[in-house]
């Protein structure tokens, strides 16, 4: 099978966000970059499927600037066969990213299945999987936390909230967006991380992909940090007094109960 995983590089979850001077983006100076957590599930699922199906290959794609190469190397260290960077600006909108990924996948061969994460934790847009599927003319199942693989079809469990699960069958080829629970991503061993340093990473440039600024439909601007919080009001007294006062606050001040 020809298996693809599309990943995004994002700031580490613990990053303190600082805004750029012009307010139209963040200061990337001290950022530690990681593979977005749900995208690690996408890589892992691709690798597990390859293990089940002899003669399969896993290709990992990521759209973004030069820095993205590090995340692609991490995917190679996890076990992917090849990795390709699509040279797009870090602030490309989801439509540009999806279009570039679709064109790249078309260039790299007929896919049997494409995995993405259910969303990337930087913009949390949850858009690229569906948009990619539209561009590829494939069905798409999102927020998937379990898959049974059949012959030309897969049965996916979709997390639709409240613990409710939709069981969706789809023909292949298809795009599947991974949710927590799908698998436990493996760690790359130190040895494989060193080995991955020597592996080639191909680059496809925006003009080869036919994606330029003219394809842009949105741009994020005027970033704001949340307003400083009022200090916390600590409720004092005996536990019984504290409890009574908090319930009073909920009922009278906030009128929530």
């Amino acid at each position: 099978m020809n298996i693809f995983a599309c990943i995004k590089q994002v700031p580490d979850t613990t990053t303190r966000i600082k805004l750029r001077g012009d307010g139209n983006g963040i200061d990337e100076a001290d950022i530690q970059w990681i593979i977005s957590p749900h995208d690690e599930l996408a890589i892992e699922e691709a690798l597990r499927l390859r293990e089940q199906r002899p003669d399969s290959t896993v290709t990992v794609l990521s759209a973004g600037p030069e820095r993205v190469t590090d995340s692609l190397r991490m995917a190679l260290a996890m076990g992917a066969d090849s990795a390709v960077r699509l040279d797009l600006p870090g602030d490309a909108d989801s439509g540009m990213n999806a279009r570039a990924l679709a064109v790249a996948i078309g260039k790299l061969g007929q896919p049997d299945i494409v995995f993405t994460g259910k969303e990337a934790i930087d913009d949390g847009a949850a858009a690229v999987g569906q948009a990619l599927a539209v561009s590829l003319g494939m069905p798409c199942v999102t927020v998937v936390n379990g898959i049974d693989y059949g012959d030309g079809v897969i049965t996916c469990r979709r997390d639709v909230g409240g613990g409710n699960i939709e069981v969706i069958e789809t023909s292949l080829p298809a795009v599947v967006a991974a949710q927590v629970g799908l698998n436990e991503p493996r760690y790359a061993t130190a040895l494989n991380i060193i080995r991955a340093k020597k592996k080639p990473i191909d680059t496809l440039f925006a003009d080869e992909l036919g994606v330029t600024e003219t394809n842009r439909k949105t741009r994020l601007k005027n970033f704001e940090l949340p307003p400083p919080k009022q200090p916390c009001q600590i409720i004092e007294g005996t536990p019984a007094d504290q409890a009574k006062e908090l319930i009073r606050v909920l009922a009278e001040d906030i009128q929530a109960i």
Partner: protein, 320 residues
């Protein structure tokens, strides 16, 4: 300006998040609603009362089980016929899946999970959280083509229904090409309490609960005020709660009116899921726990002592 609201419904009722969309400041825009399903005609009345001028009904047995694929096909055919300037959907489980499909199929601009949306004349403004709510950013639309915007539930209050208002309605015929996906079944989660993404109050417990059984302390208090039960990842990983209750970066993103964190330290990945809550309460033995930096109200104390007293005080209050 012409706006189309995609109305979501379940068991014959409009979802709360759909009703909220009518509460957005939409200026003088002409507001249409579209509702798709097996038999949805009875929803035209309530949509009119919320403020839709016209309701478009897409009825087909093919929509009974509402996969993203069939819904996307139906709306993808209808939207160009109406040619709105803006399509609004709730950023719910359904809307999250649908909005990007529509934007891609219609070559439209997309802004998901917005927490501010307004229309004034022919100007559309949208703002959304980025970096898990550590910042927000305005979405600039670079051309004046169609915009598909999904709005985070609980961003605004729904307007009062006005019985004096009504909408004209029209049915829309669409075709369904062969489906590649099929909904086989729905496995109900068996959660008797409200879901964390829908609740207006959430009581969350963390690792400090120590066992699944001890979560009854949290459940009793939640039940006394009609709240949902949330969980930190540490408590999910320890097997005290199912994943569906997890709040945070890799769990649910919630925005309730009140979020009550009991024995939760306030790790940055947890805050990522609840920082847009309107009011935050923290109960923790450690006065230096990071959760107090985000909280509006705090009790420094042992949750096993305080939380049962909260349940009691809530019951006494509602009983009086």
């Amino acid at each position: 300006m012409k706006i189309l609201i995609i109305a979501e419904h379940k068991n014959g009722l409009l979802s709360e998040a759909t009703q909220e969309l009518f509460g957005l400041p939409l200026g003088q825009a002409e507001v249409h609603a579209v509702v798709a399903g097996e038999s949805v005609e009875p929803l035209a009345g309530p949509l009119g009362q919320l403020g839709a001028a016209k309701v478009h009904l897409i009825e087909s047995p093919a929509l009974a089980s509402g996969t993203g694929e069939s819904l996307g096909q139906a709306l993808g055919q209808f939207i160009p016929q109406l040619a709105p300037d803006v399509v609004l959907a709730a950023h719910s489980a359904q809307g999250k899946d649908l909005a990007p499909r529509l934007a891609a199929a219609l070559d439209a601009a997309l802004a998901t999970d917005c927490i501010q949306v307004s229309c004034d004349g022919d100007q559309v403004t949208a703002r959304r959280p980025v970096y898990a709510g550590k910042a927000t950013a305005e979405v600039e639309f670079t051309d004046d083509g169609l915009k598909v915007i999904s709005v985070r539930p609980r961003t605004v209050k729904p307007p009062e229904s006005d019985a004096a208002r009504s909408a004209s309605d029209a049915s829309v015929a669409v075709e369904f090409p062969a489906q590649k996906t099929a909904l086989k079944k729905i496995i109900a989660g068996g959660n008797e309490r409200p879901d964390v993404t829908e609740a207006s109050i959430i009581v969350t417990g963390g690792r400090s609960l120590g066992s699944a059984e001890n979560f009854s302390v949290i459940e009793n208090f939640a039940d006394s005020i009609g709240a949902a039960v949330g969980s930190s990842r540490a408590a999910v990983d320890a097997g005290y709660r199912p994943y569906r209750d997890q709040v945070g970066q890799t769990g649910k993103v919630v925005s309730p009116q009140v979020y009550i964190a009991c024995g939760v330290s306030g790790a940055i990945q947890h805050l990522a899921g609840m920082r847009t809550s309107k009011h935050i309460v923290a109960i923790n033995t450690d006065p230096d726990a990071p959760i107090f930096q985000l909280a509006d109200y705090g009790i420094v104390g042992d949750l096993f002592e305080v939380v049962p007293l909260l349940a009691e005080a809530a019951k006494n209050r509602s009983g009086s």
